[in-house]
């Protein structure tokens, strides 16, 4: 279906451009956290999963240990495992090489676009086009952000310090919004996570409180009965 195909390509490319803006914010956050431009660029190219990247530089920027930074990045990365399970039948990559390539692009946006497509063929197209456009935009804009933020003065640094928590809030916000699955429970867990983190801050090494906040997941309660996806 050519209409579906061209719409999918247009939407996927548009999403790539939009996500690029987060790339600028990530580059700037990495600079604010004291990473050098190479480290920011390597993260975007090699890790390529936004929330984990923000978490890693956020924890390092807060004075956290590298171990705590890695731990929070990995905890946030577990999402992609679940996406991969959902995407495996759709992508059905042939051979180890294709699977290894596809895996790198299994993230929130590519999964959402592929799952929303009307059929399997379009879903695959959506995955690859979204993946390519986000990968390009994200890496390019990370470079713009990290170079743009280095060499800022005091007031601009204060501005950047306020941009970083706002970026995390923007990542969190869609999960709390009406329409997201169990958004009321998500809100409860989010408040719990923030309270645990603040309460532990005076007592644990920086960064550890972020990982410890994962205990707030207990506020979600028992699994609901299986709902067919």
């Amino acid at each position: 279906m050519p209409v579906d195909r061209s719409r999918t390509i247009r939407d996927s490319v548009g999403l790539g451009l939009a996500v690029g803006l987060y790339g600028v914010a990530f580059g700037a956050s990495a600079d604010a956290a004291g990473l050098d431009p190479w480290q920011a660029v390597v993260l975007s190219a090699l890790m390529f999963t936004g929330a984990s990247q923000f978490a890693l530089v956020g924890v390092l920027g807060a004075g956290g240990s590298p171990g705590a930074a890695v731990g929070s990045a990995l905890l946030l990365g577990t999402r992609n495992t679940v996406y991969g399970v959902r995407m495996a039948p759709l992508l059905a990559p042939r051979g180890a090489l294709r699977r290894a390539a596809a895996a790198h692009w299994v993230i929130d946006e590519t999964t959402a676009m592929a799952v929303a497509a009307p059929d399997r063929e379009t879903g695959r197209l959506a995955f690859w086009v979204t993946g390519a456009s986000i990968y390009l935009g994200w890496n390019l804009m990370t470079l713009v952000g990290v170079l743009g933020a280095s060499g800022l003065g005091g007031t601009a640094e204060a501005a950047l310090d306020s941009v970083v928590p706002a970026a995390f809030l923007a990542l969190l916000w869609p999960r709390l919004r009406r329409g997201f699955a169990e958004h009321v429970v998500q809100r409860r867990v989010a408040v719990g996570g923030a309270v645990v983190a603040l309460a532990l801050t005076p007592f644990v090494p920086a960064g550890v409180q972020v990982i410890a906040a994962a205990v707030a997941v207990a506020l979600a309660g028992r699994p609901r009965r299986e709902v067919p996806a």
């Binding site: 590298p66 306020s162 928590p165 923007a170 408040v191």
Partner: protein, 103 residues
């Protein structure tokens, strides 16, 4: 190799392994109700913790400064469905204004 570089490389490889695992392991391993439950809600807990730590702490101290004002304005902008870039700009501008006012 510095500790930051090691963190960058180890976390990147780990995150890639998590992605690859999803495409490789039998679905039944991951689709346990409890596993799904934890994975569904870990991002909310961690992202909220990061918001709180980035906006309200400095080292091991709780502090109130321009970042909290910026966060409040960002929340307002998000509630009004402002685009991402607008959210960041108003938060940054608020932080800068508070910095200038409080010296």
């Amino acid at each position: 190799m510095s500790a930051v570089w090691i963190a960058v490389v180890v976390a990147s490889l780990g995150c890639y392994a998590l992605k690859l695992a999803g495409l490789s392991v039998p679905a039944a391993w991951v689709e346990q109700p409890w596993v799904a439950r934890v994975v569904d809600f870990v991002p909310a807990a961690l992202l909220a913790a990061l918001v709180a730590v980035q906006a309200g702490t400095s080292g091991q101290e709780l502090v109130v400064d321009g970042r909290l004002a910026g966060l409040a304005v960002a929340a307002l902008a998000l509630a009004l469905r402002a685009p991402f870039i607008v959210v960041l700009v108003v938060a940054g501008a608020t932080g800068a204004v508070v910095h200038v006012l409080t010296g």
